[in-house]
C-alpha cells in the first residue's frame, strides 16, 4: 500500500516537474525571442520562406474549412430561424458567432495542428540531427535565424488567415441561407452589416493575434528542447499540439471575459 502511494507521489512529482519545465521553458523561449529581436534584425529570405509556407500553404484548407463552418452555422441556426420566422437575424447570428468565436478558434486549432506541429517537428529534427549545433558552431544564433522568422510568420499569417476565414465563412453562410433555407442573400447581408459591429469583428482578430503568439512560442519551445531521437520528436509534436490547444481555450476564456 505504502509502495503504491510512494509510486503515485513519484509519478505526480515527475509529471509536475515536467510541466513546470515546459511552462517555464515557454516563458524562457519568449524572452529569448524578445532578446533576439532587440535591436530588430530579420533574416529576409528565411522570413519570406516562412511567410509562404505558413500562410500561403494554409490558405486552401482555411478557405474550405471556413466555407463549411459558415454553412453549418446557418444550418444549425436555421431550425430556430424557421420556427420563429426570424429570417432577418440569420446574417447576424452567423456573423456574430463566426467573427467572435468560431472563426478564430477553428482556424487557430487547425493552424496549430498543421503549422505548429510541423514547426515543432522541423525544429526537433534539426535538434536531434545536430543541425542546431551546426548553426551555433557557424556563429549563427538559432533563435535569430530559425525561431524569430517563424514567430513573426505565424502571428502575422494566423491574423490574415482569420480575416480570410471570417469572410469565407460569411460567404458560405450566405450561399447556404439562399439555397437551403430560401433566405435571400440580400437579407442575409443586410442583417449582417446592420447588427454585427466592428467590435465583434476586431475582437476575433485580437484573439487571432493572441492564438498565433501562443502557437508560435509553444511550438518553438517544444521543438528546441527535443531530446531522444525520433521518439523524442514525436513526443514533442504531441505535447506541442496539446499545449497549443489548451492555450487557445484558456486565452479565449480570458479574452472573451475582457472583451465582453
Amino acid at each position: 500500500m505504502i509502495k503504491a502511494v510512494n509510486r503515485g507521489l513519484e509519478l505526480f512529482g515527475a509529471w509536475f516537474m515536467s510541466m513546470a519545465f515546459d511552462v517555464g521553458g515557454i516563458f524562457v523561449m519568449f524572452a529569448r525571442i524578445v532578446r533576439a529581436m532587440l535591436p530588430p534584425k530579420l533574416d529576409g529570405p528565411e522570413t519570406w520562406t516562412n511567410l509562404y509556407r505558413v500562410g500561403v500553404k494554409s490558405f486552401p484548407i482555411v478557405v474550405v474549412t471556413a466555407m463549411f463552418t459558415g454553412a453549418i452555422m446557418v444550418i444549425q441556426a436555421g431550425l430556430y430561424i424557421e420556427q420563429y420566422g426570424a429570417y432577418g437575424l440569420l446574417g447576424w447570428g452567423a456573423g456574430f458567432s463566426v467573427f467572435r468565436e468560431v472563426g478564430p478558434i477553428m482556424i487557430g486549432l487547425m493552424f496549430s495542428g498543421r503549422v505548429g506541429a510541423n514547426n515543432t517537428a522541423e525544429l526537433g529534427t534539426m535538434m536531434v540531427t545536430e543541425q542546431i549545433d551546426a548553426l551555433r558552431a557557424l556563429a549563427i544564433n538559432p533563435v535569430n535565424y530559425l525561431v524569430v522568422p517563424r514567430f513573426i510568420a505565424m502571428i502575422l499569417m494566423l491574423f490574415l488567415l482569420v480575416i480570410i476565414g471570417d469572410l469565407t465563412a460569411v460567404i458560405g453562410g450566405a450561399i447556404t441561407s439562399q439555397y437551403l433555407l430560401g433566405v435571400d442573400m440580400e437579407l442575409f447581408y443586410w442583417s449582417l452589416v446592420t447588427y454585427v459591429t466592428l467590435v465583434d469583428f476586431s475582437s476575433g482578430l485580437i484573439k487571432a493575434l493572441a492564438f498565433g503568439f501562443a502557437i508560435a512560442v509553444i511550438s518553438c519551445h517544444f521543438g528546441m528542447t527535443v531530446r531522444g531521437g525520433a521518439v523524442g520528436v514525436g513526443r514533442a509534436v504531441n505535447n506541442s499540439v496539446v499545449a497549443s490547444a489548451i492555450a487557445i481555450f484558456v486565452l479565449d476564456y480570458f479574452l472573451t471575459y475582457l472583451m465582453k
Binding site: 529534427t125 540531427t129 545536430e130 543541425q131 549545433d133 551546426a134 556563429a139 549563427i140
Partner: protein, 255 residues
C-alpha cells in the same frame, strides 16, 4: 567580427581544465585536463560512449560544462559574451558525427553557408571554392542535390567540405571517415595532413581509424567512461602500458 587572439607566448591554443559534466545526476565527463598546442593535431580515441563527442562539443562552446574551464585561443569560453563567443566561432570549423547538414539547403548552399556568413566574398569566388572542395572529396557535380538524396559517406564528405571551406585556424573533426570506403578515407586524411602542413591548423580529431590517425596527429588522448586515461605524444602512446590503450593502438582484443 573575428575575435582577437589572447594567446600568450607558449600557451596552448586549446586548454581544458578540470572539465566535469553530469547528465541526470550521473557524471559523463570527470575532471578532464587537456592541452593542444597551436599548430598541432590531437587524436582523441576511445570506446563508443566514452564522452569524446561531448568533450569536443564542450571545447567548441556548444555544451556548458558543470565544472572546469575551457580556453580557446586564450579566451575562457565560459566567460565570453554571446557576441564574443559567436566571433570566436568564426575561427573554428567543426565536422559533426551525424553530418549535421542543413536539410533545407542543397549541397552547394550547405558548403557555401560559412563563407556567406563570414561575408566579404564575391558570389563567383564562393561558387569556385565550393566546386573545388567538392572535386577534392570526389563529389563533382552534386551541388544541386539535397542531403536526403545522398548516402552516408557522401554526407560525411559534404559536411567535411563545409567544415574546412573557410580554412579556419581551429578544426574539430568528429569521426571524419566514418562510413567511408578506404580510398575516400585515405583522401580525407591526405587533405587533413595538407591543411596541417599548409596553415598550421590546430585540430582535435576523433576517429576509430587509428592507422589514419597515426599519419596526421602529433599527440593522442584516450578516454574511457568519461575519464581521460592517456594523454601524450606518439612515442608515449607507443610505450604506454595501459591495456586498453595498447589494445586500441594495436587494434587487438583480449579474445
Amino acid at each position: 567580427m573575428v575575435l582577437e587572439s589572447k594567446l600568450r607566448p607558449g600557451e596552448a591554443m586549446i586548454r581544458v581544465e578540470g572539465v566535469t559534466k553530469f547528465y541526470f545526476g550521473e557524471p559523463v565527463l570527470r575532471d578532464i585536463n587537456l592541452e593542444v598546442p597551436a599548430g598541432s593535431n590531437l587524436g582523441l580515441i576511445g570506446p563508443g560512449g566514452s564522452g569524446k563527442s561531448l568533450l569536443l562539443k564542450i571545447v567548441a562552446g556548444l555544451v556548458e560544462p558543470d565544472r572546469g574551464r575551457v580556453f580557446v585561443d586564450g579566451h575562457d569560453i565560459q566567460a565570453l559574451s554571446i557576441t564574443d563567443l559567436a566571433a570566436l566561432r568564426f575561427k573554428i570549423g567543426m565536422l559533426f558525427q551525424n553530418y549535421a547538414l542543413f536539410d533545407f539547403m542543397n549541397v552547394s548552399e550547405n558548403i557555401a553557408f560559412p563563407l556567406r556568413q563570414a561575408g566579404g566574398f564575391e558570389e563567383d569566388a564562393i561558387q569556385k571554392r565550393v566546386k573545388e572542395q567538392l572535386e577534392l572529396v570526389g563529389l563533382p557535380g552534386i551541388g544541386h542535390q539535397y542531403a536526403n538524396e545522398l548516402s552516408g559517406g557522401m554526407k560525411k564528405r559534404v559536411s567535411f567540405c563545409r567544415a574546412v571551406i573557410t580554412e579556419p585556424p581551429i578544426l574539430f573533426y568528429d569521426d571524419p571517415t566514418a562510413g567511408l570506403d578506404p580510398v575516400t578515407s585515405s583522401k580525407i586524411f591526405i587533405h587533413l595532413r595538407r591543411m596541417q602542413q599548409r596553415g598550421g591548423t590546430t585540430a582535435i580529431t576523433i576517429t576509430h581509424d587509428i592507422e589514419g590517425l597515426k599519419d596526421i596527429c602529433d599527440a593522442f588522448a584516450m578516454m574511457e567512461r568519461g575519464r581521460l586515461i592517456f594523454h601524450g605524444s606518439r612515442d608515449a602512446i607507443e610505450d604506454c602500458e595501459i591495456k586498453l590503450v595498447r589494445q586500441f593502438w594495436e587494434g587487438v582484443s583480449d579474445d
